[in-house]
Symmetry: C2
Subunit: 451 residues, 2 copies
């Protein structure tokens, strides 16, 4: 793992070369950078913003230690003066961000950084990595929650998530998005998500017999879940029923199916259990599940009471990345933009206003210049000011989870599904459009400067 | 980030409940677990094994601290006796693993753990997470190396990799797989991969003009790479040519294209530069590249001298996960297997032998019982014995990179491409097949035990 002490060196080299260039030229006026994405991943209707709290904490405390400065000196690229400046680095700017759990759409800033340009530049990769990870994972998890339609979904993803940092911080995003539990002990403890898990096939295989394995668990962990597919699901369930008839005091909470045709098996096992008077034993499924499989199972009324999901949520398999960008939009009070093909951006600091109908359902958003107002609720709020966190910036995770649940419920119904919905309306204010036109005219002619 | 001190709690709960069940029943005989995958990701011909060294280090030093034990106690699931056992946990077993950089195929163990069963069980998730991450990223990176056909490929992925752990350890995998550089400062320093990076669009935008930005870099960083697509690539290159005519002492190493049609622009810029006598300035491309785009550019002879690749390599976009499994294959000297639909495994500890033709090209592999021999070179070697690393287990990364390069060169040509090759022949020894049949017969009848 990367020790927290080394965080400041988790930086792309060009941020430091740019910072040195700014420093050596005395370019230290205020810059505004905007973090946003240009388009949604395929078949996605919205993203759920997450990771801003971690950014707040990290940015506030980011420092370059003596040891780090010496490592940078070894690269033979940086001047003593610049390294001395870096040694004294403290972020002195401000950040505005959407609260975690806010549905977010293309072109809308998830957060904006306003600071002396070198300071804002140095944060680029660290800030993108944190917001990217949590946003990607929360946005995937909420799809599972939507598909499961009220049934609990538990994260089993740690083994195939990308490293331990993802496995750990992912659980935070999962809780925010509404998952009901996790198998990850440390993250479950730290982020207050119930920790779940009973047995693997290896336990059944190691015991003298499957029933020996089941009995061992039932005696030690009342209410346990028994994994029934190691050898033959139907025969295992029949054996459990015979056993519980002879020992009715045994407290079995659930059985778990982990392979085969879940629909067929769940119907069959449910009938067997019900006929034996074991209607209180629930049936869980895990193994290769994603939101589409869960949705199909739930829609066809299969009697499954909950789902364990691993790889698909942990790696966000269908959309493992988001084309998040961190772009300069203003420097020294003047709007800035680039004009690369397909990558034109809107200049200037921004605000996003979200309008609702009489029932509280979101109607659409308007992206404005930060100095404008528009109808609706402004979404970007201050989290850091003069380098220090604003009171209330670090809302409890339970509040973010509550906010996310309410916000997802307020999305137009066509977006709150797994299918492609009607694109959510995001308007750009006239002032921003005008600013874009004017900025484009201004940045173009310098090719004729005779250089 | 997860501090190293907390590593032991990065465990799936069921590993601890199983360990307590084993402990309380006195089940402490030797188990063999095998780490393997059942099938390749779509359109992949091989995986490049990686992550085994990190496993060696972590397993050797894994401990549960007093603080961790108290956190586990708070879950109200574990007995004092078991927690005392856990407090004294030291891995006492052995590990055999394929050397990092070895091409690996379905059903072949990447590594095998042999230890008292509770010890081997507790490692499951930590070990899978490490091997999964590095194997997935190395296997993606080697495709970029194959596509670039000798041109350097530099990792720009950190911002969209899944967390900092992935971004850090990924660079290790990238170096092993043959990438030429990384933008990641800390990982580049720690893993000895050249660190690359010059400027972002924001620098060009912040300066008074593009030429002002270029001049700033050329004066401070001789041999620098200039990013030319912020406003208009062709006009920017024309301006650079005019400038270098008037100031021929300026040392520009390369220009970088980051948007638009790379083929068309590269041809055009190459011609402009060559006609101006600037044949020594190379042309790099970055932005949305993956192995298929690089392959197409290289095959059509586009004059690009190197590539920067971000998201596609960092998230392994086409195959962000591998269905890696950690399965019990023997306990107390008796072979074990499960019989779940589609998930039948081969019991017993194993070895893999790789055969070569007279030119050294791999002909095929044979998976055998560990006590057998077969033609060819045995791939699994001892890395931990009685809980301690074996001398030579932690080969220098340069050696692993060399091993990987030689091994990829020795693959049949049809597998060393981006297209689907003829499946590599992996035979299962007669003894393993017989053992599977016998084990299946043995594990089935216990349903009739009258339980």
């Amino acid at each position: 793992m990367v020790p927290d002490d080394d965080l400041a060196l988790m930086v792309d080299l060009y941020e430091l070369t740019m910072a040195q260039a700014y420093w050596s030229r005395g370019m230290n006026e205020t810059a505004v950078f905007s973090l946003f994405f240009r388009k949604l991943p395929e078949h996605r209707n919205f993203m759920l913003a997450c990771g801003q709290q971690h950014v707040t904490r990290v940015v506030e405390s980011l420092r370059f230690s003596d040891a780090q400065i010496e490592r940078l000196r070894s690269l033979d690229r940086f001047s003593d003066g610049f390294l001395a400046w870096l040694r004294n680095f403290r972020f002195s700017g401000s950040i505005q961000a959407m609260p975690e759990g806010t549905p977010v759409f293309p072109q809308e800033p998830l957060l904006e950084v306003e600071a002396p340009i070198a300071e804002a530049q140095i944060l680029e990769t660290l800030l993108m990595n944190y917001v990217h990870l949590e946003t990607v994972l929360a946005s995937k998890a909420v799809r599972l929650v939507i598909a499961a339609d009220g049934r609990p979904v538990v994260d089993f993803g740690m083994r195939r998530m990308h490293g331990l940092d993802a496995a750990y911080r992912g659980v935070r995003a999962f809780r925010m998005a509404g998952l009901a539990g996790t198998s990850n002990v440390l993250a479950g403890l730290d982020f207050g998500l119930p920790i779940r898990g009973t047995m693997a096939h290896s336990f059944v295989q190691a015991c003298d017999s499957e029933m020996d394995a089941f009995r061992t668990y039932a005696e030690r962990f009342p209410g346990t879940t028994l994994l029934v597919d190691t050898y033959d699901t139907e025969r295992a369930v029949a054996a459990i029923i015979r056993w519980l008839k002879s020992e009715p005091s045994m407290d079995i909470g659930a059985i778990r199916l982990d392979s085969g045709d879940f629909a067929e098996q769940a119907v069959h096992c449910r009938r067997m259990l019900d006929e034996a008077g074991l209607g209180h034993i629930s049936i869980m499924a895990s193994g290769g599940l994603d939101e589409h499989k869960i949705d199909a199972l739930c829609r066809s009324g299969v009697p499954l009471d909950g789902f364990g999901v691993g790889t698909s949520v942990g790696a966000s398999s269908d959309a493992p990345s988001l084309e998040l960008a961190y772009k300069l939009t203003e420097y020294a009070g003047r709007p800035r933009m680039k004009n690369s093909p397909g990558k034109q951006s809107f200049p200037g600091p921004k605000q996003v206003f979200r309008q609702r109908d009489a029932d509280g359902i979101f109607l659409g958003d308007t992206i404005t210049h930060r100095e404008e107002t528009a109808e609706g609720e402004p979404l970007l709020v201050s989290t850091l000011r003069a380098g220090h966190r604003v009171e209330g910036a670090l809302a409890p995770l339970a509040d973010a989870a509550h906010h996310a649940r309410a916000a997802v419920a307020a999305l137009p119904a066509s977006l709150r599904t797994l299918r492609d919905g009607v694109a959510y309306p995001v308007a750009i204010s006239d002032r921003l459009r005008r600013l874009q036109r004017e900025t484009l005219v201004r940045v173009q002619p310098h090719y004729d400067d005779g250089c």
